[in-house]
Symmetry: C2
Subunit: 338 residues, 2 copies
């Protein structure tokens, strides 16, 4: 176990390094933080911390920088979450309140988060899995062509074309629409398959094919759309990354464009509360020099999706965590209201 002072030294190193972007030496440390001991002592502590793998030196004769393990300890034990100030809270709320629809809420959230943290923001659209069906609408576009529109309680809308095996009359369509809605409206997505299972049986023989086609498209939509969408923003902040540009930034941009990667990234954070993944803790290689701070959000108590930021491992964790948490909270409120 590390002594109290050694932890303080680690904390100081992290803070200084985050601030200056430069390896921090023993002398500078004693000057900026009044630890009440001499540089020599700090040097001993540093040697111990390095031995344990919490810090490292880039070159023999340079200061120390925290390792991933060092940041991990810092986040877990040494740092709290820095709460937003009252004016900041008000600004967040104001900014989000102007949104007109779901797309707009997400877009605003991304911008906000990117600005607050000065990092790359990622916001997942509210998931369909946990949502409920508000309404299913069927429109006849041609005798053998139906458009299916699915509306969720979070305000999300998905539409699909259905090619019917046989012409399908307006009355049959109205019938199907009514029966379908009476069964699934207000129900959870996961319950839908069993709820509609025997629906085709109530229809004339010639219509059954079409009914089945519509239903299977509906079910497909539910599943497919679990490839959920997300929005990112603030990529310009990547330019503040470091001095050794192209090599660092390129894989990050590539990873950010792969929605699949990002979704997996957010998905991996099992904790519905805040999750911080540091450097190599991220499975994806391109993100090995970044940290991801994510948190679930949703209307009411339930988390329906995640949001977060991606930044250099050398980031202001308390501040970032505070911003992420605050934004998630307010977005939840906004969603609950609408």
């Amino acid at each position: 176990m590390l002594s109290e002072r050694r932890l303080q030294v680690l904390r100081a190193i992290v803070q200084d390094y985050v601030g200056t972007e430069e390896p921090v030496g023993s002398k500078a440390l004693t000057e900026r933080h009044n630890l009440g001991v001499s540089p020599a002592t700090v040097r001993n502590d540093m040697a111990a911390l390095e031995e344990e793998g919490y810090i490292a030196q880039p070159h023999t004769s340079a200061g120390r920088i925290p390792t991933d393990k060092g940041y991990r300890l810092f986040v877990d034990k040494l740092a709290g979450v820095k709460p937003m100030t009252a004016p900041e809270r008000r600004a967040i709320q104001n900014f989000l309140e102007g949104a007109v629809d779901l797309d707009d809420v997400v877009a605003r959230t991304v911008r906000l988060l990117a600005q607050l943290t000065r990092q790359v923001a990622v916001v997942q659209y509210p998931s369909l899995t946990r949502s409920t069906v508000r309404h299913v609408e069927l429109l006849s576009l041609a005798p053998a062509r139906v458009m299916l529109v699915l509306i969720t309680d979070t305000g999300r809308v998905e539409q699909r074309m259905v090619d019917c095996p046989a012409p399908f009359g307006e009355t049959s369509l109205a019938d199907l629409r009514a029966r379908l809605n009476s069964r699934v409206a207000g129900r959870r997505f996961t319950d839908v398959p069993t709820l509609v299972e025997d629906l085709p049986e109530g229809f004339d023989k010639e219509d059954r094919g079409t009914v089945s086609a519509v239903l299977s498209t509906l079910l497909e939509t539910l599943v497919e759309e679990n490839e959920e969408r997300l929005m990112i923003g603030g990529t310009a902040n990547l330019t503040r990354f470091g001095h050794d540009f192209p090599l660092t930034i390129r894989p990050v941009l590539e990873a950010l464009e792969e929605q699949v990667v990002l979704l997996k990234l957010l998905g991996e954070a099992k904790d519905p509360g805040m999750t911080v993944r540091i450097g190599h803790e991220n499975a994806h290689e391109g993100l090995n020099s970044t940290s991801v701070v994510s948190v679930g959000y949703g209307s009411g108590g339930e988390a329906v999706a995640k949001l977060g930021v991606v930044g250099p491992t050398r980031m202001d964790y308390p501040g970032t965590m505070g911003a992420v948490r605050a934004v998630a909270r307010y977005v939840g409120q906004i969603l609950a209201e609408s």
Copy 2:
């Protein structure tokens, strides 16, 4: 007027510079392109080209690089559009054909364009202005709450909530839905306002307020959504920009995040055919060292939106233009089919 050979020299300079990213000198030119003249002659031509502002030297004793004006001449007079090869065409078609809905079409188009050109791709969603209404759907969510869903012929769906001044029965709703659709289905957006003007008159007094509310929301949607959306991709390609990274790339990323800027950019290209804007021809400052190649696309003959790429002024114009044009053509086909 520049002599034929001088134009050839300019062309050669552009081609070499695009290939090597390095200033090109007189000797190298004569070696790589058999112009049939000596370096000394080329030097004279270069001096003339520089005099006219088509090329410049970064330093006194370095080769020449094209100026914006030089690229302009190259694009206008010296270069054609390089057509895609047959396999490339097939690949494009295959890639786009798998799309399931409009979002997917746009997403695939962005990816495709980014990969083909190895640059940043921008695709505008099919515009509502030139579109026609396919269907308007009204759903009653609560006694005094209606959801309005607008479906366009390009498959786009927009939804809005309407708070009604008074409760509104299902029969009135069905009535309104029917009348509304009979008037606007298949019509152009721009015609809608006049078409629905006198609609409230056909309703009972107590319902008129609601009808008006619905109509005004509909009209709002038509207008508001002319703040059209777009999708970008391939930002990782920015890392191939140049050696002098942060300064070049940052403003570009910032500009790309401002949808407004991009929309204006695409909007400025009046020519429905291909438009190339080079360097300082772009109004936005951050894009002064980039070129934008854009083209209109749409189902049928009409262009309903734009797509294009953003890359360094030093880009392969013929190849890029070929790719952009081909993609636009195939996207148009896909949209027409659905």
